[in-house]
């Protein structure tokens, strides 16, 4: 069974990574590195693909970020729900597609399926080192924005479908949510769809994360930082 390396050393060493079909929720306060932690987890390793749904940054800014952080751009696809708000005429290409707004769940679903199809058909990028099924990391940055555009119940139903598809594809899903902006009901509903929850907190002397849902792994707070797009645990 293929497993997804996380960059979190003790998960990778003890468990050889995260099993396919996992869905990981990052709960992080604003102004923290939670979003970057998501990108570090979504970074495609050799033979893998990453699909990013951005509701926060424009694709052009993300591509710029990927260039600086040694992200494998060739194996990364972006569904951009931001740019069309200001540049309606922008057109899709193989690796970057656009939807009209974060409220357009129909469009998001279609672009997601179409990118998955092109990856599975070997049309997305050169597939010299292709694995089958192709390992895919799908990152939604962020649920916070989607929840501003759509009702909780609707988003829950939508994510229910997406997480089920990721399981069938043997992919992993990564989602970030600002835990300061929503009530317990929202957080608890979102957690229901997930296997793993990574909580992030910021203190005076640094940032910490805590992992829930991986059996046999410490649930203590651990200091971390993101360096060149990679997660570094400080402990």
């Amino acid at each position: 069974m293929y497993t997804y390396v996380t960059g979190i050393s003790f998960i990778d060493q003890v468990k050889e990574g995260i099993p396919p079909g996992s869905n990981i929720l990052i709960l992080a306060p604003s102004m923290s590195s939670g979003e970057l932690l998501g990108y570090a987890l979504a970074k495609p390793r050799t033979g893998e693909y990453a699909l990013i749904l951005t509701t926060v940054k424009r694709a052009v800014d993300l591509l710029d970020y990927f260039s600086h952080e040694q992200f494998d751009r060739k194996h990364t696809g972006i569904i951009d729900s931001v740019t069309k708000l200001s540049t309606p005429d922008i057109v899709d290409n193989t690796q970057v597609t656009f939807v009209s707004s974060p409220s357009d769940l129909t469009g998001i679903g279609i672009k997601f399926s179409s990118m998955v199809e092109s990856i599975f058909n070997g049309e997305f990028a050169d597939a010299d080192d292709a694995l089958f099924p192709p390992p895919v990391r799908f990152y939604i940055d962020s649920l916070t924005t989607l929840l501003m555009y759509r009702k909780l119940e609707v988003l829950y139903q939508f994510l229910h479908v997406i997480t089920a598809k990721l399981k069938k594809m043997e992919a992993v899903g990564i989602y970030i949510l600002n835990n300061e902006s929503f009530d317990e009901k929202t957080l608890s509903l979102m957690k229901q769809l997930m296997n793993v929850v990574i909580e992030v907190k910021t203190e005076q002397h640094g940032e910490f994360l805590r992992i829930r849902g991986v059996i046999g792994i410490s649930q203590e707070w651990m200091p971390f930082r993101i360096q060149q797009g990679n997660l570094e645990l400080m402990a």
Binding site: G107, G109, I110, N121, I162
Partner: protein, 387 residues
């Protein structure tokens, strides 16, 4: 009639959607079903109708960018064949009206005024956000009434996150005259899309599912694989050849001058609005190991048997035990029936242990009309089969 512009679908509906009715395209998440609405909009515009598009999920410009040529038609200087109520209309109503009832009223008034001012013929509604803002009954309530003096046709696209229960509500409440649900058969990957005609108020049409493919912003009804199988020398290659507009065959010449299919026959045809691919399998038992792979993902099986060879029925029965075969629509075509033969339908049914609903046709593969009749029946059965 309002045509959808989708060949095959319009024919099934009796040339389109009648004026003054309501239709809904109910989309499963992730399936490329937007083209149903796009094609209908494009066709209605070609037919010189005036349309209102309610697209609360998008800015007007972003919506038009998905639709080449639409922006020019929205141009108010040209008096506008197209009016769009976009996300600004929604934002404005939600900002000004804080109560649900007043929001409903505001939407209803805005839509009716737009219809009257611009002499609108057809209203296209992207329903999700109206549903979310107003609830199902509220959102249905703001759609143009079907009892207006001028017959307004309403076409709705909806992302269905509730599945069959919502379709059942639409149908039982008679909210729509036409309900089409759009799905994707998703295993590891979406390997084919299909739509289901769930309900048609103006016709006694059974519920039926039809696969489709998309490309060049159009929807083509599509049957990716029909299998033609049968014992050796039963006439499969002739059947495939006469059914197809073009095709290839991988044959080997035997010492006696006959030819044997050693891999498969492959044929393509466009029939009754469907793009169809047919696969003829080799009949020799030594090729049996490849049959399960060929049958995989097939949508129907046509079993060809030779009317003059009762001894081949044992082999035909053997072929029907293939994995997957039992779950697919099946037709038995008794070939060479124009030659002297003793086999009759009762004998064939008993020998092959056929279900009562499996049709048995006596044909000659040499006659295109016979072959096309079998294909037509198979298409009909595929469209009624619950995959």
């Amino acid at each position: 009639m309002i045509r959808t512009g989708i060949t095959g679908l319009d024919e099934m509906l009796g040339s389109g959607i009648p004026r003054g009715t309501r239709a809904v395209f109910s989309l499963e998440p992730g399936v490329e079903g937007r083209l149903f609405m796009y094609r209908t909009i494009a066709t209605v515009l070609t037919d010189k109708k005036k349309i209102l598009i309610i697209a609360p999920h998008s800015s007007g410009k972003a919506f038009c960018s998905e639709f080449p040529g639409l922006l020019e038609l929205v141009d108010p200087v040209r008096a506008g064949d197209v009016v769009i109520l976009d996300s600004r209309a929604r934002d404005s109503i939600n900002f000004q009206e804080k109560k649900l009832q007043s929001r409903k009223k505001a939407w209803k008034t805005l839509i009716q005024e737009t219809i009257d001012t611009h002499a609108i013929d057809v209203v296209f509604v992207y329903f999700d956000l109206l549903y979310e803002d107003l609830g199902l009954d509220g959102a249905l309530g703001v759609l143009p009434s079907t009892h207006q003096k001028k017959k307004i046709t309403t076409v709705v696209e909806h992302l269905n996150l509730e599945g069959d229960s919502l379709i059942a509500r639409f149908a039982s409440g008679k909210h729509f005259d036409l309900i089409i649900s759009v799905h994707s058969a998703f295993t590891l990957v979406p390997f084919f899309n299909f739509f289901t005609l769930e309900y048609v108020s103006w016709s006694e049409m059974p519920r039926r599912s039809i696969p489709y493919s998309t490309g060049n912003r159009s929807v083509s009804l599509y049957i990716p694989k029909i299998i033609i199988m049968g014992p050796a020398s039963s006439g499969k290659s002739t059947f495939v050849s006469n059914a197809s507009e073009r095709g290839i065959s991988v044959d080997r010449g035997d010492p006696d001058g006959s030819r044997t299919t050693v891999a498969m026959d492959l044929g393509w045809l466009h029939f009754r609005g469907f793009d169809i691919t047919i696969f003829g399998t080799p009949g020799q038992p030594r090729f049996d190991p490849i049959l399960p792979q060929l049958v995989k993902n097939a949508m129907g099986i046509i079993l060809i048997i030779d009317a003059t060879r009762p001894d081949s029925l044992i082999r035909a029965r053997e072929l029907l035990t293939l994995p997957h075969a039992a779950k697919l629509p099946l037709i038995v075509a008794v070939n060479k029936s124009d030659l002297p033969h003793q086999m009759d339908e009762v004998m064939i049914r008993e020998s092959l242990r056929l279900r009562d609903d499996v049709p048995v046709f006596f044909i000659s593969s040499l006659k295109r009309s016979d072959v096309h009749f079998v294909i037509e029946t198979m298409v009909d059965r595929i469209t009624r089969h619950p995959y």
